[in-house]
């Protein structure tokens, strides 16, 4: 049962995940200097940059990871609401809590793995000797890892926006806007405080998603 739900979520998120991987891969490869779009835009690393400290990777990564997180959250929530497939799904002998917990686990895992892969590729490249003429220490990657974790909140906010009934688009997007604000705060706080904010906010979002899923009408 859980594996059937997991496979369903993976299958339905595959398209968004593939696009996200392509986007994040492009960001990582561009930062390294091997941009596949180099023929069109530019190639090579700009001189005077230091990986993770003085380069554009952090900002580009935040945008690409945020886009992936929003797309995944909305796809997982609105995908079932369109076409009434939630009536097919939610009538099965399984609780709504289990259905939505599976969605969260699959979606969050996909986001963390794909976005983490992009950071890891760039970090491993930066840590390899002879790849660039600048200093590197693993501690330099911490702010980007904090961004990676904080953008997970954006995924949860998007999922909550998708399943939460609201009269108009402004109030519907309120959880997503809140999540973006909290993610920005968490990513810019000192790591320990940022981690605390991300974890507390993340747990609150998960609780809210499960509460909405269990109490809302699926008319």
């Amino acid at each position: 049962m859980t594996s059937a739900l997991t496979l369903k979520e993976l299958r339905e998120s595959a398209g968004v995940a593939a696009l996200g991987l392509a986007g994040l891969g492009l960001v990582a490869l561009t930062a390294i200097g091997f941009s596949p779009l180099g023929m069109v835009i530019s190639s090579g690393r700009p001189s005077g940059t230091i990986p993770f400290l003085y380069d554009s990777f952090g900002g580009q990564f935040a945008l690409a990871a945020g886009a992936l997180a929003i797309a995944l959250g909305l796809k997982q929530s609105l995908g079932d609401l369109w076409g009434d497939s939630q009536l097919f799904l939610l009538h099965r002998p399984v609780s709504r809590r289990a259905v939505y917990l599976t969605k969260i686990v699959v979606g969050l895992s996909l986001y963390l793995v794909l976005a983490g892969l992009a950071v890891a590729i760039y970090a491993i490249w930066a840590a390899s000797s002879g790849t660039h003429a600048s200093p590197f220490a693993w501690s330099m990657t911490v702010p980007v890892w904090m961004t990676w974790l904080a953008v997970g909140l954006v995924y949860l906010g998007a999922l909550l926006s998708g399943i939460r009934p609201a009269a108009w688009v402004g109030t519907r997007l309120m959880p997503l806007a809140t999540a973006c604000t909290l993610a920005t705060i968490a990513a810019n706080l000192p790591p320990v405080w940022g981690l605390a904010v991300a974890l507390v906010a993340g747990a609150s979002f998960v609780a809210l998603i499960l509460f909405v899923a269990e109490t809302r009408d699926f008319a």
């Binding site: 594996s3 059937a4 009434d84 009536l87 009408d217």
Partner: protein, 312 residues
């Protein structure tokens, strides 16, 4: 034997509009109950409240003895539901939908499922999104009965199907009913469908259950009485069983349920020139019961328009 479905004062508002109003419904175990009503009368909302998709604002409902709002998984496994429009996860093939659905149920009658899919010659590898409405209805039926449910709830299952597919679908349903003696609640606005399968009917009018009786009793007890008068007809007095009245010139049409001696006496007291009592089939009875004061557009009903002009 306890009722398979029972509701008490079940009420639902959407905004200010009351879509289901104080519904008291009992569906005895082993019966086939047809829930009738026009579009927007509250049928689908009622079924969704029974299944826990929609939370009632007031009242309670129970399915197989359990509170409908907190149905445990074990009870849910005994209840099959065919939703209006036969929704599926559309990227799945029939085989994938079967495997997905089977994973949730402790009991699965694969033989029956295969029989139904083979009977309808459904291609197992076909994607659900590429099937016709009729084929999706057939897959819905197969998946609904495969877990051997005790209770089937069908929300307008023949909506959008052509006559032949509708007939096939209903005949398969009848065979399934006869085979297992299950309880079935079927909502529809296609009267002929319900007449074929239901031994008891309920009619919802604007969210209120106006009729709840055996199908045959409803057909036999409803009469349309046409009274002709020499001059303008009097108003028909309020009485038990009065469904509707309609004046056309010097003619008064009255629809009465439970037509009997007391109605005959009342009619005689009005001293009409002539009295014509008509029996109604289920469709006519349903129309008379649910249409309300609005009739055919005079522009489209030349005869009626002529009548009105002549006798006004």
């Amino acid at each position: 034997m306890p009722d398979a479905i029972s509701t008490s004062g079940l009420t639902k508002y959407y905004g200010q509009r009351c879509v289901v109003n104080s519904l008291d419904l009992r569906v005895p175990t082993g019966s086939v109950y047809g829930l009738l009503g026009r579009n927007g009368s509250g049928k689908s909302t009622t079924l969704k409240m029974l299944l826990g998709f929609v939370k009632p604002d007031r009242g309670s409902a129970s399915l197989l003895g359990e509170d409908a709002t907190t149905l445990p998984a074990a009870t849910k496994a005994k209840v099959a539901y065919i939703a209006e429009g036969h929704p599926f996860i559309r990227w799945m093939s029939i085989d994938e939908a079967v495997r997905f659905t089977r994973s949730f149920y402790p009991h699965w009658n694969g033989e029956l499922l295969d029989q139904i899919l083979d009977h309808f010659a459904l291609p197992r590898r076909a994607k659900i999104r590429k099937l016709s409405n009729g084929q999706r209805a057939q897959v819905s039926l197969a998946l609904a009965v495969a877990p051997d449910p005790e209770l089937l709830i069908l929300d307008d299952p023949t909506l959008g199907l052509d006559t032949v597919v509708r007939r096939d679908f209903l005949e398969s349903l009848i065979q399934i009913i006869q085979r297992e003696g299950r309880t079935i609640l079927i909502s529809s606005h296609i009267l002929a469908d319900v007449e074929r399968v239901a031994d008891r009917i309920g009619i919802l009018v604007d969210g209120v259950l106006r009729v709840d009786c055996p199908t045959d009793y409803f057909k036999l007890s409803l009469r349309k009485v046409i009274l002709e008068f020499a001059a303008e007809p009097p108003a028909f007095p309020a009485c038990d069983g009065l469904v509707s009245t309609w004046r056309v010139g010097n003619r008064l049409e009255v629809v009465l349920v439970g037509y009997g001696t007391r109605h005959e006496q009342l009619i005689e007291s009005l001293e009409p020139v002539s009295v014509d009592v008509l029996e109604l089939n289920l469709e006519d009875a349903f129309i008379e019961y649910t249409r309300g004061p609005r009739r055919s557009l005079p522009l489209l009903n030349v005869e009626a328009r002529h009548d009105e002009r002549t006798y006004a």
